[in-house]
Each structure stands twice: as structure tokens, then as C-alpha cells.
Amino acid sequence: MGKIETNSPEMFIEEMERINSPLPERINTGPENIEAGLGKLVLTLIELIRTLMERQAMRRMEKGSLSDIEIERIGETLMKLENKVQELKELLGIKDEELNLNLGPLGNLM
């Protein structure tokens, strides 16, 4: 058996548990929890799109290629989207760290 050597076993156990625990291997959808299961999947995708939009906007801000009016308009849109996602999360009882998917060898979606 391979050897394990560390100067801080507790920290590694805690960290690995934290990384592995919130991500289910499969989305649990059954007749009784279909809403929450699908809601989680849809919200994960919305959150992914929102994050991509936000990053794109940040890159454009950095380059200075957005006018003040565009910044205002994009900001309003992203803010409303974030608020809406937040509302839906509360409605479906979904935590922030649950909005992710384990894509196996590709890693996590977000």
C-alpha cells in the first residue's frame, strides 16, 4: 500500500471532505423531488450562463470597450438575474454550493 505523509492530517481531511461533500455524483430525481432536482439543474445552467456573461463584461470593462450607458445596462441586467436566481434558490431550498455538477474527468462545471 502506498505511504501517506503529511504535516497536517486534520487540515487535509477537512479540505477533502469540503470539496467532495456538496457535489452529488448524480442528481437525485424521483417523483417526490422532481421539482427540486430539475430546479437545481436549471439553476446551475442559468448560473453558468450568468457567470460567463459577467466574465465577458469584466473583460470588456478592463479593455475599456464599454460605454457608461452600456455598463449601466449590463449591470442592471446582471443584477436582476442574480436577484432572480437568489429568489428561486430560496424558493426551492437550494444552497449556493449545490449549484454545480460533477462532470467526472472534466472536473466540476463551475
Binding site: 502506498g2 505511504k3 503529511t6 479540505e15 449591470g75 446582471l78
Partner: protein
């Protein structure tokens, strides 16, 4: 009765003494040309193979590694019919041989490194807040939202740049002793690096010494060294199935 697969060895020879596999059932070998598949019979469903049995799986591979080069199969690889197993062995023979050749006399080592990610973010944030122009006046909601998001974006990027510098230093200690590597950075804010290195048996002593000198050179980081393991992360062909 199903067939549980542990891996493939680069020989049609076998270990003389019996090796016990899952549920204490002795392993057997299916030879084909110059390689063999190592299996044991399994009575039950895949759900019966709980995570606790991973040590039994690992134990078989360790025993095999003492004598052979091993191509490990994923934990929980179960086939229903022997003819499917034999046909898989024949169909993928060339790929298995190629992988075995590449991995001959090599083993995998894992290096994990924890840094104070939370503290570093705090530090970057406070540096950034100090330097920032806080004379913002009556800005609209959208613009304010974008400014906050932009600040966070810059802080995240600075954090990532610091992580990359640190990872490059750590990787320099090990990569010269490895023939292949896989680096996963920042799986969480604090887990700076989860790295897998494929190391030749002759260089494993040097690799361990590199870890010891890295450990001695920095007290701010926490390290975990593990190995030698079967080269799970360096098998190229995906042949296991649930």
C-alpha cells in the same frame, strides 16, 4: 455470478501464492498473448460494492505491482459475462499493450498542498481597497453592481496569479523526476494544488527527497505526499464500465 476486474498485468505469468480479492474471493487470471486480466468472481450487484471495499481493490493491485506492471481498472468495474470480458481483452489488446509499455516500472505519486487561501484573499482585498479610489458619488445601481463585480474579478485574478507562481515553484521540485504529470490547481480556495506525478521506480528515492526538501524550505504551506500508487491518473484508454 459477475466478474469483477482489478486490472491488467504485463505478463501471462502469475503470482504463485493466492491473492484474496473482494469479499475474500481469490483472484484469477485470464491470459491473452503476453498480458493477463486479473479478476475475481462476484456474487451480487454493483450497489453491493460499497466504498469501504476500495481497500480490498487497492490491496490486490499492490500485490500485483510487486511483480508486474499494472494497468489499474476503475474501482467497481463489473462485467456480467465472461465472454464480454474476453472480447474486451482481445479488442483493446493493442491499447492495453501500449499503455503497459508507457507505464512499465512506473508508479503514481500524489502531492497535495494547502495554503492560507482565505488569508491571501483578505490581504489582496485590503491592499486593493486601500489603493482604490473611493470617491464614487451618486452612481446608479447598475454601475455600482458592475464596479463591485469588477473589483471581485480583479481580486480573483490576482489570487490566481499568486497561486500560479507558487505552483510553478512547487512543481519545479518534482517535475524533473517525473515522466508525466497532471496538475489540478485551486480545487478550493485553500487547496492550492493536487498534483499527480508518474515516476520511474529508479527515481522514486529522488522524488521523495525532493518532497523532503520542499517541506523543509517552507513553513507556510501544508503538504501531503502519498504513493507509490497504481497509475490511475495516467491510463489513457477508458475501458472500464459500470
Amino acid at each position: 455470478m459477475s466478474i469483477y476486474i482489478y486490472g491488467i498485468i504485463d505478463s501471462n505469468d502469475r503470482i504463485d501464492e493466492s491473492i484474496k480479492g473482494l469479499n475474500g474471493i481469490p483472484v484469477s487470471y485470464i491470459p491473452y498473448k503476453d498480458i493477463s486480466l486479473v479478476i475475481s468472481s462476484f456474487n451480487g450487484d454493483i450497489q453491493d460494492i460499497t466504498k469501504i471495499k476500495v481497500l480490498e481493490h487497492e490491496d490486490v493491485l499492490d500485490r500485483l505491482m510487486e511483480k508486474f506492471t499494472v494497468l489499474p481498472f476503475r474501482f467497481r468495474t463489473l462485467y456480467n459475462r465472461e465472454e464480454d470480458v474476453v472480447s474486451m481483452l482481445k479488442d483493446f489488446y493493442n491499447d492495453f499493450s501500449e499503455d503497459l509499455g508507457r507505464l512499465r516500472n512506473k508508479a503514481e505519486f500524489d502531492i497535495k498542498v494547502i495554503w492560507s487561501g482565505d488569508k491571501i484573499i483578505e490581504e489582496i482585498t485590503s491592499d486593493y481597497d486601500r489603493d482604490r479610489d473611493i470617491s464614487a458619488g451618486d452612481e446608479s445601481r447598475g454601475k455600482l453592481f458592475m464596479e463591485q463585480a469588477y473589483n471581485k474579478y480583479k481580486i480573483d485574478r490576482e489570487f490566481e496569479e499568486r497561486a500560479n507562481i507558487c505552483i510553478t515553484v512547487i512543481d519545479n521540485f518534482f517535475s524533473r523526476f517525473a515522466s508525466e504529470k497532471k496538475l489540478e490547481k485551486l480545487k478550493s480556495k485553500n487547496l492550492l494544488l493536487d498534483a499527480f506525478y508518474l515516476v520511474d521506480k529508479e527515481r522514486q528515492g529522488d522524488f521523495k527527497e525532493a518532497f523532503d526538501s520542499l517541506k523543509a524550505s517552507s513553513s507556510d504551506l501544508q503538504y501531503l505526499f502519498s504513493g507509490p500508487w497504481p497509475p490511475y491518473n495516467f491510463v489513457r484508454i477508458e475501458y472500464g464500465k459500470d
